[in-house]
Symmetry: C3
Subunit: 155 residues, 3 copies
């Protein structure tokens, strides 16, 4: 009978700013979390992720390697970041040169259950809940849908 190798989620080699609050169980490793951040339960934040000050990472969120998030952001419940676009027709399986990075500016609020492909998002953006962001967002505003498109202000 085979026995699996079992690892335990936890906090490993995380550089915490001041006054960070964490709810376990969560799986944070090799990342940097800014001052006054909150990280909810059932979250994973991977290696080399950097998160700015006062950003909230809500329960069930997953933030992958190669992601950078600014100050005063909100990562909603169940938001999933992605670094592997299956560009060769399937997962990169360790060929990290195929991964792409995500850079999120300041004051970006990402609604619950949204999915974030590897993109750049400028400051002052709202992403609607359940959206799938597939392209860079270069203009502040509100974006929603699958794929996410800009919502025009109603007059």
């Amino acid at each position: 009978m085979n026995q699996p190798e079992i690892y335990q989620a936890g906090l490993r080699e995380v550089e915490f700013g001041a006054r960070v609050k964490i709810v376990e169980p969560c799986n944070l490793y090799g990342c940097k979390i800014g001052d006054d951040c909150f990280v909810g339960p059932f979250t994973e934040i991977q290696k080399d992720v950097r998160i700015g000050a006062r950003t909230r990472v809500q329960s069930h969120a997953f933030i992958c390697e190669l992601s950078t998030i600014g100050d005063d952001c909100f990562v909603g419940h169940g938001v999933m970041f992605i670094n592997d676009t299956f560009s060769t027709g399937g997962p990169a399986r360790g060929r990290k040169e195929l991964w792409r990075e995500t850079v999120i500016g300041n004051r970006v609020s990402i609604g619950s259950n949204a999915t974030i492909m590897p993109v750049n998002i400028v400051d002052d953006v709202v992403i609607g809940a359940g959206s799938v962001v597939t392209k860079d967002i270069t203009t502040p505003g509100t974006y929603a849908g699958n794929p996410a498109r800009r919502l025009l202000a109603r007059g």
Copy 2:
């Protein structure tokens, strides 16, 4: 080196009905769970949520403050409720007067990975998996899509 404040998910100040079954780890606090409910693992149910009898809350679901759910409902895996609509262009950050409530009737079945904005949903509604519900649902029936729309019966 800063140390975060670490909290542990668990069951705190929950008013349970009779014969409730719970799978841990989950994070339930200050809420009321009716008779014969089931709550799966990796769930969070927040303060002041009230859930009726015989309702099932499946794994990975998140039910936020200001949500009320009726009897005989089904909250699918990964369903996320929302109370903050970013109405000011970002999260309310503690200004709870900006939050809005969700009221779900009886016999409402919400498919997995659906996202529920703050809405009212009448009795006898089915929400398709992966849907994003953005408006009140006032007529029984089946709704799906992003945003969710009523599916007409096929003749």
Copy 3:
């Protein structure tokens, strides 16, 4: 004051292949996991699920009873499988004869936050992140959207 019955997520009656890696907490029971698989944290894999060799099940994924997954697949973060289509207007509630099965071929890569209704998917398929797969996929290729449709190659 009522006390709930509390169960704990864990590994119960799982048949593991060789060199499987698991990150706890996760909830795996009565299933079969092939050689060299990886299963991330905050996952649930239910009874009678069979998963082939070298398949990765990423964090927050949920794989329900009546699902079979081939070799060299990738089940992204937050992917939810479904066996109950609410065909009678609500959940089957134990009438398992109403559940339907899902069969996933080999080299199928499912993007994060995708939702998989009970379907058959052939070998060599990519499902975009955030997609909702509602119908069988019988031709290799890339599919995305809600509902998922085939993406045609751009010339």
